[in-house]
């Protein structure tokens, strides 16, 4: 092949796309040596390939459909009482019950309260799942653990039953502690100057509401919370003793989480007046207006809960890998990939015996893997064992399809004229398209279902097939034509 032909080949859009993608991918993967001289890259590994732990938590709650002749508000209030659980309306005919109940129990309780249960799904609504996710993330971040991932597994019906927490570099015992750990919450009152006195601790807060506007629609945000009876009595006693009811402005209430101030504000005039005469259990901490107020309210809610989740969870599964095992798994997986590529190369060589055919095939095959890895690096996907197995399988079928192209074109051993060549190439591509469509269809159920870690695997496999069909096969068709027309 002379320079002119080579130039023509490289500037062909199919070949050019391939080359550009490979270069971009290598930049994205960015293989380099770190400070210790070890080879590293931007690729991230899942918890079966590096040290870390995962916990799968199951929500102790259910989302149910309901119908009732009572006004909905009244029905919910009744239910809250009879179930002794928080009941939240998800949409016009669905409720979230934040306590674990069996379907039969709920059916009879619903009938007794004047309604009817129309559907039953263990889990929580998407919004609640997002709240839990935020709280967990917040908690993990405040503990300074880096590289944490919290994923809710939400099904097609927008109900999440499980939430998965992955913590890199942390062993299982620590992970269980982090997720289960409650912060130390305290309310103090300003006495004179910078002096403060302890008023309440976190145990006296019996429930925390979601951020709301008070009065509704005013855009003044805050978080409501409820104190136990003894808590309310202690609160009133302290407010009167230190003079906060008489002079609210000079006696701020200060909330601390793990000894850090998270909120500080005076009693409202209204509340100060009421506290003179009676215990108040239902309190509201306002945080301001607009976006800022909402943001502050969201944070305060998390702090008030002291890291406790709005819904109870149980551990449905957990696991972890230690550093040496993770290292060995990673080495094995990488080695398996390289050996697979070499094995494929040998089979191809055995069949064609022509380096000018075998070399482009293997290179194209390898470039497909490089592009996939590049994509994985860009989206920050964490590679795990099934994904690597998927990559190796992409390698195997990728070469299959190159074989189909080569054999179609070399049909009857003759090198075809350009016209015939195109006809044969399109025939080969039609076989490949059907094969690719079946692989993609076979993987789709995994994408939409809740099969835990297999979602990523399905995504990578589908992507591998797409890269093959759209980028590397057309490029190979072009390259092999150049080579064969010699």
């Amino acid at each position: 092949m002379n320079t002119k032909e080579l130039k023509a080949l490289i500037t062909d859009w199919r070949v050019a796309t391939l080359i550009i993608l490979v270069v971009l991918s290598i930049i994205a993967i960015n293989p380099h040596f770190d400070d210790q001289g070890n080879l590293t890259s931007n690729l991230q590994y899942g918890l079966d390939l590096q040290q870390g732990s995962w916990l799968q938590l199951e929500f102790q709650a259910e989302v149910v459909g309901f119908s009732t002749d009572l006004p909905v508000d009244e029905f919910i209030t009744n239910l809250t009482e009879s179930l002794d659980a928080e009941v939240i309306q998800v949409d016009t005919n669905h409720l979230e019950i934040r306590k674990s109940y069996s379907q039969a129990d709920l059916e009879s309780k619903f009938l007794a309260t004047g309604g009817k249960l129309t559907s039953f799904q263990p889990g929580v609504s998407k919004n609640t799942a997002e709240d839990v996710k935020r709280i967990l993330e917040n908690k993990i971040n405040t503990l300074g653990t880096k590289d944490a991932k919290v994923n809710t597994l939400t099904g097609m019906n927008n109900i999440a039953r499980y939430i998965r927490v992955e913590l890199a570099g942390v062993n299982m015992k620590q992970a269980q502690e982090i997720v289960g750990k409650q912060g130390k919450f305290e309310i103090r009152i300003q006495t004179t100057g910078n002096q403060t006195e302890h008023v309440l601790s976190g145990e006296t807060i019996t429930s925390v509401q979601s951020p709301s506007q008070e009065p509704p629609g005013s855009d003044k945000w805050g978080v409501g919370f409820t104190l136990s009876e003894s808590g309310a009595a202690a609160f009133r006693a302290a407010a009167i003793k230190f003079g906060a009811t008489a002079d609210p402005a000079n006696h701020n209430l200060i909330m601390l989480l793990d000894n850090e101030t998270v909120y500080s504000a005076p009693l409202s005039e209204d509340l100060a007046g009421k506290l003179q005469s009676e215990d108040i259990r239902q309190l509201f901490a306002s945080t301001g207006t607009g976006k800022y107020g909402t943001q502050q309210a969201t944070n305060l809610e998390i702090h008030l809960r002291a890291g406790a989740l709005p819904v109870d969870v149980t551990i449905a599964g957990s696991g972890g890998v230690t550093a040496p095992l993770g290292e060995r798994y990673k080495t094995t997986a990488i080695l398996a990939g390289i050996c697979a590529l070499i094995a494929v190369g040998f089979v191809i060589y055995y069949r064609y015996r022509e380096p000018v055919i075998v070399l482009p095939m293997v290179l194209i095959n390898a470039s497909e893997i490089v592009i996939l890895l590049g994509f994985i690096a860009v989206i920050g996907f964490q590679m795990d064992m099934p994904t690597i197995a998927g990559l190796i399988a992409v390698l195997g079928t990728g070469i299959d399809q190159l074989v189909v192209i080569t054999d179609e074109i070399l049909h009857e051993g003759k090198v075809p004229s350009p016209n015939l060549y195109l006809k044969r190439l399109s025939r080969a591509l039609s076989i490949i398209m059907v094969a690719a469509a079946t692989v993609i269809i076979a993987m789709v159920p995994l994408l939409v279902m809740d099969l835990s870690t297999l979602k990523g695997f399905a995504m990578i496999t589908i992507l591998g097939v797409l890269v093959g069909v759209l980028v590397t096969r057309p490029a190979y068709g072009k390259i092999i034509m150049q080579i064969l027309s010699k």
């Binding site: 499980y162 972890g320 094995t332 050996c339 094995a343 089979v347 079928t397 789709v444 995994l446």
Partner: protein, 284 residues
């Protein structure tokens, strides 16, 4: 490929499909028996049944390990190479599991522990079966849309079905449980096992020429396709075995088994039905 000759001219379609159909029947019976015994056609691993799996590297003997874990619901200890052990436990309550994980982190600080709760496993189990069924139906629809002729499409789908059933039966025989990893492998097989069937059907139906020549040509290409994937899976299996990475071993073993059955089902089952269809006057 020249290693062996593919010459089926002297066999009638009936003779071609006889062996695979008999094997398919046996496999179905095996799966039914397993279903009666465990409730699932393929024995579920801890991913789907709940339980705890521990991977350790230790110089302790099997008996010593048994003694260490005597107080816990030990199910099975299997050995890998390089002193690797895979230990399985049945379902435990929270306190029992915590005491087990404390024991493990004290005795084997480098162990890998995975624990799946029973209800979580059960949820995954039903999803797994659904995923397999949907995948298969999806594949069948693509095949019917692509070929738009009844008999050849049925031949492809039946071959793929036979691949799955025989692979599943073989998994039970050699003791590979259904885990998230092997489920992934089975799904890959659904997609990949039809590759050579599609090539075969395409060559026979859409090309001019003598049937036997078209079959030989298709075989030449098809067997290489399967061989490359087999080679990749074999390389993966050997490396995984040396590195004692159980999940990768299981995935590659399932692929290997499936691909071997695929060779038979493509070049006997599918070819048999296709030959019958062409001789009867279908196709071009």
């Amino acid at each position: 490929m020249g290693l062996f000759n593919y010459n089926i001219e002297k066999y009638s379609p009936k003779q071609l499909v006889m062996i695979p159909l008999a094997l398919l029947a046996v496999s179905l019976v095996l799966l039914a028996l397993n279903m009666a015994a465990t409730g699932m056609p393929v024995t579920p691993g801890i991913d789907f049944s709940g339980g705890t799996a521990v991977t350790v590297v230790t110089t302790d003997t099997r008996e010593q390990l048994q003694a260490t874990f005597a107080g816990y619901p030990l199910i099975d200890i299997s050995e890998g190479v390089n002193n690797g052990y895979f230990i399985k436990f049945g379902a435990m309550d929270d306190t029992e599991f915590r005491s087990l994980s404390a024991l493990i982190s004290e005795k084997f600080p480098d162990a890998k522990v995975d624990q799946i709760g029973e209800t979580f496993g059960k949820t995954l189990q039903s999803q797994a079966v659904l995923a397999l069924v949907f995948s298969f139906i999806g594949m069948a629809i693509v095949i019917f849309l692509a070929f738009r002729t009844f008999v050849p499409s049925v031949a492809v789908v039946l071959s793929a079905f036979a691949d799955m059933v025989m692979t599943a039966a073989m998994m039970n025989i050699v003791g590979i449980p259904l885990s998230l990893g092997t489920l992934a492998a089975l799904l890959m097989l659904i997609g990949y096992s039809v590759d050579s069937d599609i090539l075969l059907t395409n060559r026979v139906l859409k090309r001019q020429g003598k049937l036997s020549e078209k079959l030989t040509g298709a075989f030449r290409t098809g067997i290489i396709m399967t061989s490359t994937t087999l080679a990749a899976a074999l390389a993966m299996f050997i490396v995984a075995w040396f590195g004692s990475v159980l999940i990768l071993m299981e995935i590659s073993a399932v692929l290997l088994i499936g691909l071997v059955f695929d060779v038979m089902n493509t070049w006997l089952t599918n070819v048999g039905i296709l030959k019958w269809y062409v001789l009867k006057g279908g196709g071009k």
